[in-house]
C-alpha cells in the first residue's frame, strides 16, 4: 500500500493542479441566487466548456465515447484537486454526467449514444432523475408511474419526486412501469423523457435546508417515442442498477472533502465563539469533539482511497466496481459522521446557532454552511438508500444474515 502517487499519477496531479489554478482564477463567482436556474446553468456550462477544452470532460468515461478514460485513481485526484482549488462541482450536470451518460454508454443504442453523449460532454444538455415516487422511496421497485405502449410511443401517467434539476433539465432519466402484471422488479422500463413534452408539470420541492434543487413532477399522458427506451422493455430495473453502480466510489468524494473543510472551519469558528470568559476552543471537551469528528472524516477519506483502489484493481485481484461492503460501509459511516459533525457544530455555536445564513455585524460568524451542512446530514442518511437500507444490505449481502421477511 502507498499513499504517494505513482509517477504517472503524480504527473497527472501536477497537470490538473496547474490547469485548475488558471481556470478557476478568472471564472468569477457562482450565481448568488440559488433559484436563478438560468444563471446557474450558464455558470456550470462555462465551467464544463473549460473542462472539455482542457480534456477533462467525462473524465472517467471511455475514450471511445469522448471521455478521458481516466483511471479511478486519476478521477479521485481530479476531484481532490478540484476541491482544493475551489473549482465548481458538476452542478446542474450531476445527473447527466454521473448517471445518464454512463448508463447510455453501458446500455444505450448507438443512436442514443451518438445523439446524447456529445451534448452531455459539452454541457449542452441537462438531465434530471425521475426515479423516486411519493409512494416509492426506499422501496423503489414499488413505483407506479405507468407507461402504456401506443403505436411507436409510450404514454406516461404518474408522479415523481426528488427530481433534482427538473426546472432546468432537457431530459429526464425516467423509470416507469410497463407491465403491471409482472412481478415488481420485472415490469419496469428505463426511458429518456424530453422535458419539453406536453403534460409535464414541475413543482418546486423545498427541503428542510431551505433549498429548491428538487422538484415534484406530475406526468399526465406524456408521450415519449418508443425509441427512447434504454435497454429492453421491462428490463429497466437491471438498467437502473447499472445507473446506480456509477454512484459508488467517487460520488461522495466532493461531499466528503467539503465536510472535511467544514471540520476545519468549525475549529476556526470555535476560536471566535464566546464560551464563559474565553472561547469554545479553550474548552478541551470541545476540542476533543472537533478532533474526534475530524478523525472520523479522515478515516472515511482513507476508506474512499481504499474503495477507489479496489475499483481500480492491480491485475492480481481483478479490480472492478467498488464492492458492496466498502460502498455501504462508507455511506452508512459517512451519514453517521455528518450527523456527528452537526451535533458538534451545535455545541460549538451554542447560543449563536440561530441562522442558516452567516452572521455579520454584531457577531461575525460564517456559520451558514455549517448549519446547512448539519441538515444536509439527513439527506445522506435518507437519500440513495437510507441508513436502515444500508444496514440491511451489509447484514444480508456481506455478513450473510437472513433476508428480511
Amino acid at each position: 500500500m502507498r499513499l504517494r502517487d505513482s509517477e504517472s499519477d503524480s504527473r497527472f496531479r501536477k497537470e490538473v493542479r496547474a490547469w485548475l489554478a488558471g481556470a478557476v482564477s478568472d471564472l468569477g463567482p457562482a450565481p448568488a441566487d440559488v433559484d436563478d436556474w438560468a444563471a446557474r446553468r450558464a455558470y456550470d456550462r462555462r465551467w464544463q466548456s473549460r473542462l472539455q477544452d482542457a480534456g477533462f470532460a467525462g473524465i472517467d468515461w471511455p475514450r471511445a465515447y469522448g471521455g478521458r478514460g481516466a483511471t479511478p485513481t486519476e478521477h479521485l485526484i481530479f476531484l481532490e484537486e478540484s476541491a482544493a482549488a475551489g473549482a465548481p462541482d458538476l452542478g446542474v450536470f450531476f445527473v447527466s454526467q454521473l448517471h445518464a451518460g454512463p448508463t447510455l454508454i453501458a446500455e444505450g443504442t448507438e443512436r442514443q449514444r451518438a445523439f446524447h453523449l456529445p451534448k452531455i460532454l459539452a454541457g449542452e444538455s441537462v438531465w434530471c432523475q425521475g426515479f423516486s415516487e411519493p409512494g416509492a422511496g426506499s422501496d423503489l421497485a414499488g413505483l407506479r408511474t405507468r407507461a402504456v405502449r401506443d403505436g411507436d410511443e409510450y404514454v406516461i401517467t404518474g408522479s415523481k419526486i426528488w427530481t433534482s434539476f427538473a426546472f432546468v433539465a432537457d431530459y429526464c432519466e425516467l423509470l416507469v412501469r410497463t407491465d403491471p402484471a409482472a412481478p415488481r422488479h420485472r415490469g419496469i422500463s428505463w426511458l429518456i423523457m424530453p422535458m419539453d413534452a406536453p403534460g409535464i408539470d414541475v413543482r418546486p420541492l423545498r427541503t428542510i435546508e431551505g433549498e429548491s434543487e428538487f422538484a415534484e413532477m406530475y406526468l399526465d399522458e406524456v408521450r415519449v417515442p418508443a425509441e427512447n427506451l434504454v435497454g429492453a422493455e421491462n428490463d429497466g430495473w437491471r438498467v437502473a442498477m447499472v445507473t446506480f453502480s456509477f454512484e459508488r466510489g467517487t460520488a461522495f468524494v466532493r461531499e466528503l472533502l467539503d465536510a472535511m473543510s467544514l471540520a476545519r472551519g468549525l475549529a476556526a469558528i470555535a476560536r471566535r465563539v464566546p464560551r464563559g470568559t474565553a472561547t469554545a476552543w479553550d474548552d478541551p471537551g470541545i476540542r476533543r469533539d472537533i478532533g474526534t469528528v475530524a478523525a472520523e472524516l479522515d478515516a472515511l477519506w482513507a476508506l474512499t482511497k481504499r474503495n477507489v483502489s479496489r475499483a481500480e484493481g492491480d491485475g492480481t485481484d481483478g479490480g472492478g466496481p467498488v464492492p458492496v461492503a466498502g460502498g455501504s460501509a462508507f455511506k452508512l459511516s459517512y451519514a453517521e459522521a455528518l450527523h456527528h459533525l452537526g451535533e458538534v457544530t451545535m455545541r460549538v455555536l451554542d447560543r449563536y446557532a440561530i441562522s442558516l445564513d452567516d452572521l455579520a455585524g454584531a457577531v461575525d460568524l460564517p456559520l451558514g454552511r455549517h448549519l446547512q451542512g448539519q441538515l444536509h446530514a439527513f439527506a445522506i442518511s435518507i437519500a440513495a438508500g437510507t441508513s436502515q437500507i444500508q444496514r440491511n444490505i451489509l447484514a444480508e449481502r456481506v455478513l450473510g444474515l437472513p433476508k428480511e421477511r
Binding site: G137, G142, T207, D357, E404
Partner: protein, 332 residues
C-alpha cells in the same frame, strides 16, 4: 411523594390542547413569522385561559397553581409548537398585567457580557423588552434596541434579532426576582422541550403506522420500531425529570439558591434537550424522504428544539452545574 398526574392536571392539559388545536393549528402557525402574520387574537385567547398567570395568586388574577402545573401546560404548548414569546409571557406577567392578559407581548433577554452580542427572540413582535442582569430586571422599549433581524432564522417560526448592546433601561425588578425568573424560565423552557420530545414521536408513530414500503407498513420493521421505542423512552424520562424539577422549585428551600433545586432544574434541561433533539431527528429519519421536505412537520420540531435548548441555560452549562452539585461540600 406523588409524581403522577392527577385528573385535574390531565383536564388542564386537555383544555390547552383543545385550544391549541383550534387557534394554533400548525398548518397556520408555521407562517406566523412576523408582526403582520402573527395572530394576536389567538394569543389573547391563549392568555384568557390564564396560561401566563397560572402560578399567580387569585388576587392578581392568577389560578394559584403550582409551577408543575404551569410546566404541564408548557409541555402542551411545546408539543403544539405554539409560536410567540411563551416563557417570557409567564415571567413578565409578574410585573406587567397586560402581558398576562395577552394585550402586550414581551421578550426576556439576559444582558450579555461586555462586547458580546445579545440574541433577542421575537423583537419585532413585542411591546416590551425585559433585560436580566446581576442587578435585577430592566425594562427597555423595543424601539430603543439597536438590533438587526437574522436572515433565514434556524427555527423558521421563531424570528431572532442580534443586538450589539442593550440600553440600560428602567429598573423594574430586583436581583432576587431576576434569579427566580431565570429558574422558572429554565424549567418552563425545559417543559417546552419535553413536550416536543413526546409529541414528535407521536407524529412519527402515526406516520410509520400508515406509510407502506416493501408491501408493509414501515412501523412493522424492527429498525423503525426500535427507533420509536427509544424515542418514547427518552420522552418519558424527560417529562418525569421536568415535572420533578418543577415540583422541586416549589418545595421549601427550592429557590434559586438551593442545591437540590438547582440540580433538578439543570438535570431536567440536560435530558429534555437531548430528548427533544434526538426524537426530532428520529422523526425526520422515520419520515424518510418526506421528512426531508419543508412541507412535512418534523423539521419544525427539530429547529424549535435547537433554539429552545439554549434559552436561559445550555445543555453544556446545565451538565456542568449538575456535576458541581455532586461534589458540593468538598473542597474545590
Amino acid at each position: 411523594m406523588r409524581l403522577e398526574l392527577d385528573d385535574d392536571q390531565r383536564a388542564l392539559q386537555a383544555s390547552v390542547r383543545a385550544l391549541c388545536a383550534e387557534h394554533f393549528p400548525l398548518e397556520r402557525t408555521r407562517t406566523w413569522t412576523d408582526r403582520d402574520s402573527f395572530d394576536r387574537r389567538a394569543w389573547r385567547t391563549l392568555a384568557e385561559l390564564g396560561t401566563f398567570v397560572m402560578t399567580r395568586s387569585a388576587d392578581e388574577g392568577g389560578a394559584e397553581l403550582a409551577t408543575v402545573d404551569a410546566g404541564l401546560v408548557y409541555q402542551v404548548l411545546g408539543a403544539e409548537l405554539v409560536p410567540g414569546p411563551l416563557v417570557a409571557a409567564a415571567l413578565a406577567s409578574d410585573l406587567i398585567d397586560e402581558v398576562g392578559t395577552g394585550q402586550l407581548l414581551a421578550t426576556v433577554v439576559e444582558r450579555p457580557a461586555d462586547g458580546q452580542p445579545a440574541v433577542l427572540r421575537h423583537l419585532g413582535l413585542v411591546d416590551v423588552v425585559l433585560v436580566l442582569d446581576a442587578a435585577g430586571i430592566w425594562r427597555v422599549e423595543p424601539a430603543d434596541v439597536d438590533a438587526r433581524p437574522v436572515t433565514s432564522p434556524l427555527d423558521p417560526t421563531t424570528p431572532v434579532w442580534l443586538a450589539t448592546r442593550l440600553p440600560q433601561g428602567e429598573r423594574v425588578g430586583d436581583a432576587a426576582l431576576a434569579a427566580r425568573w431565570r429558574q422558572r424560565g429554565d424549567v418552563l423552557t425545559s417543559a417546552l422541550l419535553a413536550g416536543i420530545a413526546v409529541k414528535v414521536i407521536e407524529v412519527a408513530v402515526a406516520y410509520a403506522a400508515q406509510r407502506e414500503q416493501f408491501g408493509r407498513v414501515i412501523g412493522g420493521f424492527q429498525a423503525v420500531k426500535h427507533l420509536l421505542a427509544d424515542g418514547f423512552a427518552r420522552a418519558e424520562v424527560a417529562r418525569a425529570a421536568v415535572d420533578a424539577a418543577a415540583v422541586t422549585i416549589d418545595e421549601p428551600g427550592g429557590g434559586p439558591d438551593g442545591t437540590a433545586a438547582a440540580r433538578a432544574v439543570a438535570g431536567a434541561r440536560v435530558v429534555a434537550a437531548r430528548a427533544a433533539v434526538a426524537n426530532s431527528k428520529t422523526a425526520i429519519q422515520v419520515h424518510g424522504g418526506m421528512g426531508f421536505t419543508w412541507e412535512a412537520t418534523p423539521h419544525l420540531y427539530l429547529k424549535r428544539a435547537w433554539l429552545e435548548e439554549n434559552v436561559f441555560t445550555t445543555p453544556d452549562e446545565a451538565a456542568e452545574l449538575v456535576a458541581r452539585t455532586l461534589t458540593a461540600g468538598e473542597a474545590a
